[in-house]
């Protein structure tokens, strides 16, 4: 017979204000099998844990139930407590009376009754618990970083610095990401390329870093410490090892109609191209949609001129498979689609542009060589109007409900740079709120207003329309309570940002969670911000939420620290709550292997004694405990009830259901 102890936590007033904790402790103390019960203000505190340890020893407890917060919060804490007092850590059950009771109920009576029921349920399960022992697995000392923007670059450099091997998989032909497209960076106004490209070169030269550009993650298997990833290397029709990056193919290519993605489609590029001068790897790529040779078979100019003989029109996608201990997602962001915001005239007017397009127009390496000319007629715009929050903080359903966070600062930067370079230009900014928290940020914005005379107008814009060659920006000035229309030459939209769309596929491959806005979810919003809820998967940069460059780099380094901490371990404890199959009941039907998402179940032929000296060979299921993640899908699917999940056996779950239903 078990001797169970029940420990009811107040969580300060978090639980105690809504749940009568004393009554819960007293009532549960009467339950069969329970020999001790107590309540305490903070069970997770040192004193609280000591109370548990003392009770385990003094009352000879064989198992404990802690009525407290979610097991995601403190299950590990209380398991350690029990273990240090000599109990098996899997003889601990948590009844969640905070998230599932006190935080969602108002009525004390109702909440107290529910807390008692959840406590009983945990006791019913614990009565059937058996001690479990965790096994161990090794750790592959190599990390994968998906995405080669500033986030991925920083994470990879930090991991490599600690001495571990790391691969960067980047879907575009070069690493560098969005930051490579920017002109200057706030709040110091240093040029983005000047601070980014040395880091890109560091990546290329670091022996521990392997860059797989123009590549995508195709398949992910395994678990923390032991992932196997299949990577597709897209055909670039150029032999990476031979190409010297001389650029002759670019200059001779007769197909010039491809849109230049790096310049936000503001101009064209040849079919054979290197995205930008400082690209890493400095290797050309051929766009099969634009290449005349690949489309019609006639041309081959680049092949004739290439001295390195690097052109290979027959190249196919290839695959590499590698093992990793940890995976970092650093897939970044894109500008949200503006198709639901026709009122700003983006689709109909060439001179209504996004801020990222403006970055290219102001960049010395951009389509206008850094001279600010408006796209429609290449003239200098004299009146420029910025519209902030286009699609951000939007509750109409057309845009994003969140603040994109970076727009207030980059708009102040753009306004200031334009006024500095072209003092004859009038600059207006429509804003809802100016949000500039951050070191030296508000000072930066104030400089735009006070020193550079940028006209900030509090109010939203209703529409932008063309009238006699001018872009009429119609909006309201809330401070003077006036409706105003500004005849402008160029309109710049601070469009909302959203996660790079490929992140959805990657989240599915990694079985990690994504929120309603397609941002990846962190394990804990405050305490585990760079880990995903899936063990071994880490988050770096914009894929987790909007952030600027300083914040992205901080997070990228934090992420690297977590990865290094994992890779530094030689062994990882496995979860002992895995499936086990009863050979005597297994009929070898194959159902469980079919539903297993981790490929943990195989079939083996086993010899069984039938008595009387006879034997028979039968096919039965065999679970690889290192691969099984304990999801329980097989236990539900098994038609003969042969397979069960340790720690969550069918009997235990039925006992819980019974305890909930029985009054």
């Amino acid at each position: 017979m078990q001797r169970i102890g029940v420990f009811v936590c107040w969580c300060g007033s978090n639980i105690a204000a809504t749940v009568d904790v004393k009554r819960v402790a007293e009532t549960l103390g009467q339950e069969p099998g329970v020999v001790y019960s107590a309540d305490y203000q903070y069970m997770c505190s040192e004193n609280g844990q000591q109370l548990i340890k003392t009770a385990i020893k003094e009352h000879g407890l064989t198992g404990i139930v802690v009525c407290s917060c979610s097991p995601r919060m403190h299950e590990a804490t209380f398991r350690k407590t029990a273990e240090s007092a000599g109990l098996n850590p899997y003889m601990v059950e948590i009844a969640n009376i905070r998230e599932q009771v006190s935080w969602i109920h108002k009525d004390i009576e109702e909440a107290t009754v529910k807390a008692i029921i959840l406590g009983r349920t945990a006791i019913a399960k614990l009565l059937l618990n058996t001690p479990l022992t965790a096994g161990e697995t090794g750790v592959t000392k190599r990390a994968l970083v998906i995405g080669g923007g500033i986030a991925g670059i920083q994470t990879a450099l930090d991991i490599a610095e600690a001495g571990y091997e790391v691969d960067i998989v980047e879907q575009r032909p070069t690493i560098g990401g969005r930051m490579a497209q920017l002109d200057k960076t706030f709040p110091t106004l240093d040029c983005a390329a000047c601070i980014l490209t040395p880091k890109m070169v560091d990546c290329a030269q670091n022996e521990k870093i392997d860059i797989l550009s123009y590549s995508e993650v195709e398949e992910v298997k395994g678990f923390v410490g032991n992932f196997t990833v299949k990577i597709r290397k897209k055909a670039r029709y150029i032999d990476e090892k031979k190409c010297t990056g001389c650029g002759i193919c670019m200059s001779v290519c007769p197909s010039k109609k491809g849109l230049n993605e790096f310049n936000m489609n503001l101009n064209n590029r040849p079919a054979a191209y290197i995205p930008f001068a400082q690209a890493i790897p400095n290797v050309a790529v051929i766009d099969p949609e634009q290449c005349i040779k690949l489309k019609t078979g006639k041309c081959g100019l680049c092949s004739m001129k290439c001295e390195a003989k690097a052109i290979d029109y027959t190249q196919q996608d290839s695959f590499v498979e590698r093992n990793y201990g940890a995976i970092v997602v650093a897939t970044g962001f894109k500008i949200a689609d503006l198709k639901y915001f026709n009122e700003y005239g983006y689709a109909d007017n060439k001179d209504v542009i996004t801020s990222l397009e403006l970055e290219r127009l102001m960049n010395a390496a951009g389509p206008t060589k850094g001279t600010l000319l408006r796209p429609s007629d290449n003239t200098h715009p004299h009146v420029i109007t910025f519209i902030q929050c286009v699609g951000s903080r939007d509750i109409s359903g057309c845009g994003k409900p969140y603040c994109s966070k970076i727009c207030c600062m980059y708009t102040a930067k753009h306004a200031m740079l334009i006024r500095e370079k072209y003092p004859d230009t009038e600059v207006h900014v429509f804003y809802i709120d100016v949000r500039t928290p951050g070191k030296n940020y508000d000072e930066f914005y104030r400089r735009a207003v006070e020193q550079y005379d940028v006209d900030y107008i509090k109010g939203m814009v209703g529409k932008v329309y063309n009238e006699n060659g001018k872009l009429m920006v119609q909006g309201s000035d809330l401070l003077s309570n006036e409706q105003i229309t500004i005849a402008s030459d160029l309109v710049v939209l601070a469009a909302a940002i959203e996660p790079e769309p490929s992140v959805r596929k990657i989240a599915t491959l990694l079985t990690t969670s994504i929120d309603t806005n397609n941002f990846l979810t962190e394990a804990h919003a405050k305490l585990r911000p760079v880990e995903s809820p899936t063990a071994g998967i880490f988050l770096s940069g914009m894929c987790q939420g909007p952030k600027d460059i300083p914040e992205t780099v901080s997070q990228a380094s934090a992420c690297a620290a977590k990865v290094i901490g994992l890779l530094a371990k030689d062994k990882l404890k496995c979860n002992p709550c895995v499936s086990i199959s009863d050979d005597s009941m297994c009929i070898g039907c194959g159902t469980c292997a079919n539903v297993c998402p981790y490929g943990a179940i195989t079939y083996v032929d086993k010899e069984f004694r039938l008595g009387g000296g006879k034997t028979e060979v039968r096919r039965v299921a065999s679970v690889n405990e290192a691969v099984c993640q304990g999801c329980g899908a097989c236990t539900v699917a098994c038609p003969s009830g042969a397979i069960d999940l340790k720690g969550f056996t069918t009997k235990q779950i039925m006992a819980e259901v019974e305890a909930v239903c029985k009054r």
Binding site: F341, N342, E343, S396, C398, K463, E467, M472
Partner: protein
Amino acid sequence: MKFSYYPGCTLKTQGKDLDIYARKSAEALGIDMEEIENWQCCGAVYPQAKDEIARKLSAVRALDSAKKQDGKLLTLCSACYNVIKRVNNDMKNDENINLKANNYLKATGYLAEGDEYNGETEVIHYLEMLRDTVGWANLKAKVVNPLKGVKIGAYYGCLLLRPSSVLQFDNPENPTILEDFIKAIGATPVVYAMRNECCGAYVSLKDKEVVKKTANRIVNNAKANGADMLITACPACWYNLNHNSDGSLPVKYLTELLAQALGLI
């Protein structure tokens, strides 16, 4: 298909054409519009004062009367649609207005003891009926006199679209329903920026100069984008765009063009 129909005062006086062509077209499309009995003026824009209960009552009566028929109330005038749908929303979601309106209607004997109106009726605009009940494809098939080559600017005004959270008629910034209608009758829609700007509405009673400005702004913007004519569902808009603009662009009711396309005129 039968609908209880609320015409409203203007459609019986200044805006007769809007009503007449709507009925003719509906008949041709197999829709039976049955005018509810003893309806009163919806109150135009007046019932929108939050604390004014009495002026919402005629809308509540119309809604209750439709509830007792088929549960649907068809409207046509933009102002009536706006008022009736917003009052209906108040009866559904505003406890204070619901309680007072019901109490008043019971006290005056309009509602029997135990009877209540709680916003059950569905308020439908004629355009929504064309889109959802008839269907654009069906409508297109019934057009005998397609208005080929006619460039029509849809003029929405404000009352059809706002407040969008209550009316849920169309996207208030980038509406499409009137353009879809124009395509269905065989004409070419002209999209122009001012199509959802206010025409000046009742300000024309007080200050003609203001309305001349707003009306001309709309007409000029439509002309600049190549429109040959404007269509509207609102008698107030029709009046302002016809009589307070420079008159350079014909402004018609959408139902008139519908009847024309269906070969009824």
